[in-house]
């Protein structure tokens, strides 16, 4: 039988275990709560950016303005026709403020696709200006002062006829940056991020893995390699902005590479992610049991054969995971890219590694700085796309790990 003292001690031990479990669950719950709060705020603020307000008006494609390329004139005359009572010059300007200054591009594209339109009349949904968009989505009230009293009146009359509607915001995915929120998109930033990521992966992966293999499998263990190891560990902890400054000094000032280019951005991110990849790869190589190395050496495999036939394939899941995590980290990096000029306002979508470009996190930074209410939802939407990017990368890491994983 258990005596009383033992029973008491046993009870205390069980209680301690229960308490520990509870603490663990509580901390998980707190972490989850923060995550949910983050996602709810971002999604809640951002999801409306995927829809865009349009105003349907009847446009007559008169031959004169079309020949001159004056599609903005078509928009204006269409609006003037819809509200014939507006005649004064100032009032007209107020009226035209309902429609985005980029709305004429839709008409131009339509005529380019189908020249037969000239001389006809069509109902076209024109891009509304950001203020109308915000009011229609309910983010600001019509009385907030963003719209004038008359603009609000016109909008109300348009709404009554059902001319105002929400449509999918393709511009947001295809366009580059713009001063006008309704014309701004993440397309340029996504392409820039992809270019920078390709450069980073192509350089950091082979460099990092070969460094790790050399240090782990070939290099003699002496004071020099120890010094190198310490320095690599230190480099992994260096603030990223310092890498940006290094990139500025080395790539831009010394090597005269172009400013704002994804190539330079990728190089800087390579410098930044190399130490992380090296450390992760070394850990993965270390985790391969030495018995496998001995078995291969015992059969007469050379050092390189031991590494390429056995150690590297076995370490690959760990190496890939480390690389993808490092790259995902690099994608979310802003500070070093500010230093090499990727913070610029770039409207065009980059077509190559040397074109000026920006990247997603920098785009988020730029938009978060903009005063327009419409940029608030676009900032959140851009964050959502960035998060989706990272989620896909992490999923890829898991899939690759599962695919290459072997048991022994």
């Amino acid at each position: 039988m258990i005596d009383e003292r033992t029973a008491r001690r046993l009870a205390r031990r069980h209680a301690a275990e229960r308490r520990f479990k509870l603490y663990g669950m509580a901390s998980v719950a707190v972490a989850l709560a923060f995550l949910v709060a983050l996602l709810v705020t971002i999604v809640g603020k951002g999801y409306t950016a995927f829809a865009q307000t349009g105003i349907a008006v009847e446009v007559s494609f008169d031959a004169g303005p079309v020949k001159e390329g004056d599609f903005a004139g078509l928009v204006k005359s269409a609006l003037a026709a819809r509200f014939p009572e507006v005649t004064a010059r100032n009032d007209k300007r107020e009226l035209f403020g309902l429609i985005s200054s980029g709305a004429d591009r839709v008409l131009r594209d339509m005529v380019q696709d189908d020249p037969g339109l000239i001389g006809q009349r069509r109902v076209v949904t024109l891009l509304a200006s950001d203020d109308v968009d915000m009011v229609f989505k309910g983010h600001v009230t019509a009385e907030s002062g963003r719209l004038t009293a008359r603009q609000a009146e016109w909008l109300a009359s348009l709404r009554q006829t059902g001319a105002v509607s929400l449509g999918f915001n393709t511009t947001f995915f295809t366009a580059g940056d713009s001063r006008e929120p309704e014309l701004a998109g993440v397309g340029g930033a996504v392409v820039g991020s992809l270019f920078a990521m390709v450069v980073t992966l192509c350089l950091a992966f082979p460099l990092g893995v070969s460094t790790a293999v050399y240090l782990e499998e070939f290099a003699p263990k002496n004071r020099w390699t120890e010094l190198i190891e310490v320095n690599i560990n230190n480099l992994a902890a260096v603030p990223s902005i310092v890498f940006g400054l290094l990139g500025l000094a080395l790539f831009l000032n010394f090597l005269n590479m172009p400013r704002s280019a994804p190539l330079v951005g990728g190089l800087v991110l390579t410098l930044m992610s190399l130490p992380v990849i090296i450390i992760a790869s070394r850990a993965a190589l270390k985790a391969v049991p030495p018995s496998i190395r001995e078995a291969a050496r015992g059969l007469g495999a050379s050092r390189l054969q031991v590494v390429t036939h056995h150690v590297l394939p076995l370490a690959m899941p760990g190496i890939l995971t480390g690389t993808i995590i490092a790259t995902a980290h690099a994608i979310g990096e802003t500070a070093p890219l500010l230093m090499i000029g990727m913070v610029a306002f770039i409207v065009d979508i980059p077509a190559g590694f040397l074109d000026p470009a920006t990247v997603l996190p920098v785009q988020v930074y730029l938009w978060a700085d903009s005063p327009e209410r419409a940029f608030v939802e676009r900032t959140s939407a851009a964050i959502m796309i960035l998060l989706a990017f990272l989620a896909v990368m992490n999923l890829l890491a898991i899939v690759l790990r599962k695919k290459f994983e072997r048991r022994w």
Binding site: P220, K221, P289, S291, I292, E294, A295, A296, R297, G298, L299, G300, A301, S302, Q305, H309, H310, L314, R406, R407, W408
Partner: protein
């Protein structure tokens, strides 16, 4: 103190070292400043099983790993003295340890098959040494190696399964098959049965006895019964020295040295 007295050494070495398959003279091994082996001299005769016994840390595994230069991999390790294989010094600078290990195979304490298929495990050695000119030839080598290792009946229908999925005893025999697939002249075994159950051990011991016809075998073992069962000659190591070496029967029935007697009768070790 030199515990190895003169008559014992005469037993350990031959008058003409060219008659030995492997011949070691005055081998000293240092790990950094620590001396692990002190002046070991032994001749290992062809087509015999030589067992090396002794208490833990006595240097028998260290000596075994000198015979195919596996100690080269340990950076702090330094080997002095001379070891000959068929009258050729294996520690000359001109000799490629990679080539040496094709002639002197090794089986380790813990079964360590590659995480590949059974076929690929056995085929790996022949592949890297270019022993087979065609797929059919490689198949032939794999099958005969598995047969020699007494594993063929158990695995012939599952050659494409993972080698790591076999039982411990089967894994160790797979490692033996892998070692003999490169047709070595000498096979070194470092406590090959210490991770196996008695039935698997019996199978491996049986196998060792058969392999003696074709190969010269050196086996390190902690089990004196095993040494008595499988070996023709036995060497007893103590504190880095080869105390006594002779015919197994003589070592176990009539040891010359009192340390040997103490060890085999279980007074220490």
């Amino acid at each position: 103190m030199n515990v190895a007295s003169k008559p014992a050494l005469d037993q350990a070495t031959l008058d003409d070292r060219r008659l030995a398959k492997v011949s070691a003279r005055d081998v000293d091994v240092f790990y950094g400043a620590k001396q692990a082996l002190k002046s070991v001299s032994i001749d290992i005769r062809p087509n015999e099983v030589t067992a090396l016994i002794g208490p833990s840390g006595c240097g028998k595994s260290t000596f075994l790993r000198c015979l195919n230069r596996m100690n080269d991999l340990i950076e702090s390790c330094r080997v002095a003295g001379s070891i000959w294989l068929d009258g050729e010094d294996i520690y000359t600078s001109g000799l490629d340890p990679v080539q040496l290990r094709a002639r002197v195979g090794m089986v380790f304490q813990k079964p360590n098959p590659f995480p590949k298929t059974i076929y690929d495990n056995v085929a790996y050695g022949p592949r890297i040494h270019g022993l087979a000119r065609s797929r059919a030839e490689l198949d032939e080598i794999v099958m005969t190696s598995l047969e020699k290792a007494g594993l063929i009946d158990e695995v012939k229908d599952r050659l494409q399964e993972q080698g790591t999925g076999l039982s411990g005893g089967q894994q160790q025999r797979l490692c033996i098959a892998r070692a003999i697939a490169v047709s070595p002249e000498v096979i070194l075994m470092d406590e090959p049965c210490s991770a196996l159950d008695p039935i698997a051990t019996a199978k491996v011991e049986e196998l060792i006895d058969e392999l003696r016809q074709r190969f010269t075998i050196v086996i390190v073992t902690h089990s004196m019964q095993q040494a008595a069962r499988v070996s023709q000659r036995t060497g007893f190591f103590h504190l880095g020295e080869l105390v006594e070496c002779g015919e197994t029967e003589q070592i176990f029935t009539n040891p010359r040295h009192k340390l040997t007697q103490g060890y085999i009768t279980g007074r220490f070790g």
